[in-house]
Symmetry: C2
Subunit: 546 residues, 2 copies
Amino acid sequence: MLQWLKTYRKEFLAGDVGAGVIVAMMMIPQGMAYALVAGLPPVAGLYASIVPPLLYALFGSSSTQSVGPMAIISLMTASALAPLAPAGSALYVTLAGQLALLAGVVLLACGLLRIGFLANFFSRPVMNGFTLGSSLLIALGQAGTLLGGAPLHPHLPSAALGVGAVAFLLLARRWLAPLLRRAGVKPAAADIGARLAPMLLVLGSIALVALLHLDARGVQTIGRVPAGLPHLNLAQSAQHWQALLKPALLIGFVSFLVAMSGAQALALKRAEKLHTNRELVALGAANVGSALSGGFPVTGSLSRSAVNFAAGANTQLAGIVTALLLSCALVLPTGWLALLPLPVLAATIIVAVLGMLEWNTLRTSWRYDRADALALLATAGGVLLLGVEAGVVLGLMLSLGAMIWRESRPHIALLGRIHGTEHFRNVERYAVETDIRVLMLRVDAGLFFGNAEAVNERIEDELAAHPAARHLVLVFSAVNAIDTSALFGLIELNQTLGQRGVELHLAEVKGPVMDRLRDSVLPERLSGRIFLSTANAWDALVLHDR
Amino acid sequence: MLQWLKTYRKEFLAGDVGAGVIVAMMMIPQGMAYALVAGLPPVAGLYASIVPPLLYALFGSSSTQSVGPMAIISLMTASALAPLAPAGSALYVTLAGQLALLAGVVLLACGLLRIGFLANFFSRPVMNGFTLGSSLLIALGQAGTLLGGAPLHPHLPSAALGVGAVAFLLLARRWLAPLLRRAGVKPAAADIGARLAPMLLVLGSIALVALLHLDARGVQTIGRVPAGLPHLNLAQSAQHWQALLKPALLIGFVSFLVAMSGAQALALKRAEKLHTNRELVALGAANVGSALSGGFPVTGSLSRSAVNFAAGANTQLAGIVTALLLSCALVLPTGWLALLPLPVLAATIIVAVLGMLEWNTLRTSWRYDRADALALLATAGGVLLLGVEAGVVLGLMLSLGAMIWRESRPHIALLGRIHGTEHFRNVERYAVETDIRVLMLRVDAGLFFGNAEAVNERIEDELAAHPAARHLVLVFSAVNAIDTSALFGLIELNQTLGQRGVELHLAEVKGPVMDRLRDSVLPERLSGRIFLSTANAWDALVLHDR
């Protein structure tokens, strides 16, 4: 907590303040836009951008993470709340806060229980497919707002404004940085300047609405933004807590995945160390803080964090600067924001989420591992066709299914002796000598419930292929652990082999594994012996027996 | 399919017919009792005992598996149907058939997709905890029927009959086999004879009710059993299919686990090979058959299969004999069954499920691996407090959590050279020489999304501990596979290490892994080299560089 403050140096200040200002400029349009995606009044997006970064600065371990509203989490919020209340209603706003509170408590609990390893649930292709599907779903969801009506019946002034905004943002992304560079701005500064195009667009479109009275011509604007800081907004409605629990678990899980994958990419570049469990606590605190200050579920945003990083943020102070600037924006008169046209906000959303599309993972995995590519496409399709929650569950199942499939096929080698040596190798790869009465199998994986069955099956196959075998030696040189399920498997294997006249021996059992086995009945019940080395087993069972 | 028929020998016949008759004698009370647990009319239990074993004999690979009603699956059926229809109603009966049909289709699909490895989802302690919780829940659920009323307000004649039946069954289990042995019966036959106590009790209690007119004194009996074989009983009610889908998935999963764990224990004793995917198909067909013949979800029952095994069943013919006998019982006049008192059926249920309790797993895992013991208790508690469906999900989460935790901590060794040799070993275990500019790490696990993060973290730690390092050699001698997530991890690691002036090298990449890597951009982007052996890497980076 505040570790960065103890080692703070004066030289950090310029970078932190500069980055804080730039991220605040990105945060204003993004926060309002993502509130819109979540079905909330735009001002909720500003609220959710103040307390969360402050709390993250207090607890988080990434120096550049920018915590606040984020597109996919907003989509999940909308999908969780849609069945419970009409979008934008007072109940809806309260439920959004409750959802953030629950998600925050889930994240805090995971952090305090130190189960951050759960982030390893999602494979990269599945995560990419999830992002892909969600981005398209968000973009499709904004089409109506962009055009001011159904695609075939657009409201022309709104559609002109919206499509114009999309064109401006796309052109700015492509050409603004090169233009600034040609105008003599330093490359890094030019890149960051180009990131402020959405804020420029917001200001420009407000001016345009004011000048042309577009609001009177039917262009929807965000309307009055209540000035002042948010007040506590978490009324009791006990009957909804239960309905929110499952979405809160999924949102907590996804927000952790999103935040970690972004922060880790940046941390690697600076050789900075992230603490998984501290990140969970920090994200949990940020969500609880968002709930208590009129916000909704938040997480780290890769696009803002990357700008924060590029703009020279040295410590979490940059996030504090961002939060202070946003609260200033709310305390100052906010009347000017009322004229911001919704089609322009929709345009910033669409361009932002289409910018998250990344096809390299699909291309690479299609060439490298077709199954991973299909998992990616299935997850994306699941999100698009079944919705974002079903998409998370589908992604989880595909990732875990892949893990279990992998685990259920451990590598097992039948061993033989390299003539005249004490070396034992796979019979399929080396010219080795074997004995028809002695089977030696090396299992190259820890034994546990996920592969116990596969090990048994391989043993049965080898015994069937070598009917003269009277000794089975399991070489445990690569077995780092044996869980309770596998322990029972060994005890039963020993018993059934005994009934069939085959002795079971172990060899090269590692120290820690042997210590554990001594607490069990296996050593005393074992029909055979426990050899220190494979060579000892060979000497005793093959040579002395000749 | 019918493989056993091709190799059938005359000598098998006596054992098969004898076992078939004995299992049928067990099946009659068990089938009716488990139908009661499922909330169905007792005759449904007899229907569910005819077609399923026939279909299992057609497709299954275990010679001794007895397929039919089973306590836990009946409990899950009751729990799935309770919110949808009043127990025993015509709709309830139809829904039970639909549930069996869906579960059967799920099992068939898993078998045809060859994803039987999914059975490796549950760890043994979790399975034991699930059985424990379910057994207690079933026993508690039967207490009212046993006593003919609430525990504090029992119906005295019913309670006397029920408690008397429990006492008889417990005494029979403890003393009948020894008594028969003392009377000169062979030990094996005596053990099997003792298993027929429930059937004896059924017949005795019917006689008692008839003699004492207990039904007129308020003892509930099963009532008229419609004679004749069942007719198709699967009316359309499309609106319920969706509600049944999730329970059907869970029931399919649990019935597969239950059937496999029982069959495998018996198969090992005979060195018989079970085919996981064929078992899935056979169980799926059995459930579809049960649905089409007035039954409900079924699975293999360990208690009956063990008797079938002990009574000398040689092939699946024993199951066919059982099915034929049960259909005869239905064709013959069934009026006598009407007087069977419910408290006696409840007694057979309670004694049967309490017989499934097994404390050895808890005792062993408590000593061997406390975490596994706690998972067992948590699953049992989950079933008791949250219900059987929540229990399955909790068990899944605990098993998978354990797997992911295990996977997220791969063994990684920092290597050094044993002086004067070409052998490289863990610096923590051997006296080896190292070079401060060259870090060599051996990863003892396949690289995939579940451990990619842990590998990165270890690399960061080692680089922080060895700031002079300019080369990182990853020794892949134990890496059997690299998935897409880990491939991306390596590409990014290579890039970020490059920015920090550290070259990344690989050594001892296995043939199949190298073949896959060649399809990726890693080899061309790698800042360092790919060495055939660790010794080559040492020579090039340490010796030639001196």
